[in-house]
């Protein structure tokens, strides 16, 4: 559905007389297949929006190629536009218009008939909890309501491929959960493909089949949430020994298990291993055999936060 090779974008910025180039996106390769829900993760300024704007034909790449829904973004932009829906990060409605009219007009610009656009629009209003706001001016809506209006606008023409740029910013937990359900339904009921950016790891975790992590304009990881968590961080085993003189032998055991140095803090010894569940029984037996008594033992599955920190956190940026 989306295939990009070496996609790059450089911005020229002027600061008084000094000219500078910002390399917003540098050589991004990505593939999204039909029916996938793919999350695009990265810190502020990583190049997510810029990538999306290139894939949606709003911005010309300075290098590289991309085909979206089978059409080349550079040579067949109109065909690309016809095939996609886009919800921008920064809003898309005029403060003075009427909410419902914005939806209908937008649908009509895609060639949808007026009645059909209105019918689908009202349906989306209902599904996104915007009931009764059809004739309200967007400037009188709350931030979260306006955000949902933007989303309804991007979906009014039932696109087979949807780009959502941070769709859930500003939504309360309930509206967020509701939107997740809606996005999942887009795939299960309409067979749509969804490409969304987000800062929320729980969101990517709950929603996406696959995650792409971008930092400094380059893709630094691409995998399922599960295997990302397994690869990059591993499970954390953290144990507290009863007496201080047992810290050293316990650390030796854990280090041997993980093949890396265990971390020690006071009586706490911790280590990361790929699959703690399968290691734990053996570990407990061997600790027992060594006569090491435990106060407690805890296993924590890695969160995507751990992944995110490790991939885009300070340590990575220092190496880069």
């Amino acid at each position: 559905m989306i295939h990009a090779r070496g996609l790059s974008r450089t911005f020229d910025t002027k600061h008084g007389r000094e000219k500078k180039q910002v390399q917003a996106v540098q050589g991004v390769d990505l593939d999204v297949e039909a029916g996938e829900i793919v999350g695009f993760l990265g810190p502020n300024g990583a190049g997510k929006t810029t990538t999306l704007r290139m894939l949606t034909t709003l911005l010309k790449p300075t290098a590289g190629t991309a085909t979206v829904a089978g059409f080349d973004v550079a040579t067949q932009p109109v065909d690309v536009r016809r095939s996609i829906g886009y919800v921008s990060q920064s809003g898309s409605t005029s403060p003075e218009a009427l909410a419902g009219e914005e939806i209908v007009d937008h649908g009509m610009l895609y060639g949808v008939g007026k009645q059909q656009a209105e019918r689908r629009g009202r349906e989306l209003f209902e599904q996104l909890d915007l009931d009764g706001l059809w004739t309200r001016q967007p400037r009188t809506l709350s931030g979260g309501q306006r955000r949902r209006l933007d989303i309804a606008m991007g979906l009014v023409h039932d696109p087979g491929l949807v780009f959502l740029d941070e769709p859930t910013t500003g939504l309360d937990p309930q509206a967020r959960a509701n939107l997740w359900t809606h996005i999942s339904a887009l795939r299960s009921e309409r067979g749509s493909t969804v490409f969304l950016t987000t800062h929320y790891l729980d969101e990517a975790d709950a929603l996406c089949d696959r995650i792409l992590v971008i930092d400094h304009g380059e893709i630094v990881a691409s995998d399922t949430p599960e295997s990302l968590k397994r690869q990059v961080a591993g499970d954390l085993i953290e144990l507290i020994v009863l007496s201080a003189d047992q810290v050293a032998p316990a650390a030796a055991r854990l280090s041997a298990l993980a093949g890396a140095d265990a971390e020690v803090a006071d009586r706490t010894v911790s280590v990361r291993v790929p699959r703690a569940g399968t290691e734990l029984p053996g570990l407990l037996r061997s600790l027992d055999a060594d006569g090491i008594a435990l106060e407690s033992i805890e296993v924590r599955r890695p969160t995507l936060d751990d992944v995110f920190l490790e991939l885009t956190g300070r340590s990575l940026r220092e190496h880069a």
Binding site: T56, T57, L58, K60, S88, T93, S94, E96, A97, D105
Partner: protein
């Protein structure tokens, strides 16, 4: 066919928003109406000097063109706020023709100008204007055409600068000398030779003269053809600048 449909979608949307908030239409009309009411009477006593027995036959055509230039040149400002709220980007991501996105907006300005022009002529009539009916109609059409050109150029400028602070001084520095040299309030023909010579290079001067001539029913006058010719050139230039800007990526 799709192009016309897309143009009318954009046009209808713009018109609806204007009708919901007609303040700008009224404010745009205030200036020429004030001129008509407060400056027109002063001009009456100078009518013989201007070579006419009815000052409004000279004055109303000038005000019409002023409305067409000034009103339309500021049309781009609403585009900047639309751009800021993300509307332009939302429209550009649809398959709609970029030219339709421009034309729908420019047509709204043309319609607005037509209404303002009719109100102005009707008010002028109340003050004593007695033009030829056909002539006034042609004059109005010329005004609308000129306004369309200016609105298109203004939208192009708005999309290029994306800043009211850059655009306002730019428009003022162009529009003011153009207005002064077009003989809007008083025909250039009463001025000194050097001023007339300079004004010969200002297209809108010829357009004002053409509108004055048709108001007087003097259709065969050569100035009419010059004026219409210049209007056509400006329309072509304005629409060219507008479509070029709207078609550019990244705008």
């Amino acid at each position: 066919m799709t192009f016309l449909r897309e143009t009318s979608i954009v046009f209808n949307r713009q018109l609806r928003m204007n009708l919901r908030n007609p303040a700008w239409v009224i404010i745009g009309l205030m200036q020429p109406v004030l001129y008509l009411a407060l400056f027109g009477p002063l001009l009456e006593s100078f009518a013989p000097m201007l070579g006419t027995d009815n000052a409004y036959m000279v004055f109303v055509p000038g005000l019409l063109i002023q409305l067409g230039i000034f009103g339309a040149l500021f049309a781009g400002f609403s585009l900047i706020s639309e751009w800021r709220s993300g509307v332009i980007e939302a429209e550009r991501v649809t398959p709609a023709s970029r030219t339709a996105l421009l034309l729908g907006r420019v047509l709204r300005d043309s319609v607005q100008l037509a209404v303002q022009g009719i109100v102005l002529i009707a008010l002028g009539f109340a003050f004593g204007l007695r033009g030829s009916i056909g002539g006034m109609l042609i004059g109005l059409l010329i005004t609308i055409a000129l306004g369309t050109a200016c609105a298109s150029a203004s939208n192009a400028l708005a999309l290029t600068t994306k800043s009211e602070d850059v655009m306002a001084p730019l428009i003022n520095s162009v529009a003011l000398p153009v207005l002064l040299l077009s003989g809007i309030l008083i025909p250039m023909s009463v001025g000194p030779q050097w001023l007339q010579t300079i004004s010969d290079f200002v297209p809108t001067k010829h357009i004002v003269e053409a509108v004055r001539a048709v108001f007087a029913g003097d259709f065969a006058n050569g100035v009419v053809y010059w004026g219409i010719g210049w209007t056509a050139v400006l329309v072509a230039l304005g629409l060219w600048a507008g479509t070029r800007t709207f078609r550019k990526e990244n705008a």
